[in-house]
Amino acid sequence: MTFVPFESGLILAAVLFLLGLIGVLVRRNIIFMLLSTEIMLNASGLAFVTASARWMQPEGQVMFIFILAMAAAEVSVGLALIMQIYHQFKTLDTDTLNNMKG
């Protein structure tokens, strides 16, 4: 049985991560940015799991679980915020939401 090469796993994680990054950088809609963030989180999780498989250690998977928990929390708060923002500003465009400008 052939095994998944370590490099391929990592490269896949990198590609997914960068796609997520492109999403964050390009999209102005805050929902899409949150989605892209999820992609990035997931990709980093993938890297951990790959590493876990490579060294036959459970730690990588443990890390994935933590990431998962974090993502869940983040999404719940983030989505609540999105709703508030939409209620207040009637837009989801982050470039117009720049009140934190220095």
Binding site: V4, L12, A14, L16, N29, L46, A80, L81
Partner: protein, 184 residues
């Protein structure tokens, strides 16, 4: 196994690309679910069945459903797609793509330096993961529990919606404009 890996990798990459290019949020979400499922297969191929299951249940199941709920609650209509079209101009892709291309090249160079070594493709059973979680990383578990708790409370508080949560600066400017309006 390898074939499955590559196949699902292609599916994951393609569907992720679709996610970031869609104009309608629901479409993007559905593509993301596809991507997540593909990744879950990859996890399986990597010998992490427990994680694969979690990926399907929590990510593709719970979190994405949350997204869909929100998108539905926001009730974004036609005009939002129209607006999305305006926001998403082709030239905006240029810079990020260049940056990421540089990054991917660099990553590939980095990873290619790692010479593949043989290893046993034994799957790590959920039991091992569980033992590790609740012995070595117990503190982490507790912390993430608290994080989730905080997330729930935060989401509840933000979602109450009765009182407008405003930064005091915004509140001031808001009341100013209100006052101006009244004087008119």
């Amino acid at each position: 196994m390898l074939t499955i890996f590559y196949l699902s990798a292609v599916v994951a990459v393609v569907s992720t690309m679709m996610v970031i290019t869609r104009k309608e949020a629901v479409h993007a979400l559905l593509y993301l679910i596809v991507s997540l499922l593909a990744i879950s297969i990859i996890f399986f191929a990597l010998g992490a069945p427990f994680i694969a299951a979690l990926e399907v249940i929590i990510y593709a199941g719970a979190i994405m459903v949350l997204f869909i709920f929100v998108v539905m609650m926001l009730n974004l209509g036609r005009e939002s797609i129209q607006q999305e079209r305006q926001l998403l101009k082709p030239r905006m892709w240029f810079g990020p793509v260049i940056l990421t291309l540089i990054l991917i090249v660099e990553f590939i160079i980095l990873f290619s330096k790692i010479r593949g070594q043989n290893y046993h493709a034994l799957s790590i059973s959920p039991k091992v993961v569980g033992v590790s979680l609740f012995s070595t990383y117990l503190l982490g578990v507790e912390l993430s529990a608290m994080l989730l708790m905080a997330g729930i409370v935060g989401a509840y508080y933000l979602g109450k919606g009765k009182k407008r949560i405003m930064h005091r600066y915004l509140a001031n400017t808001g009341s100013d404009s209100k006052a101006k309006g009244e004087t008119k």
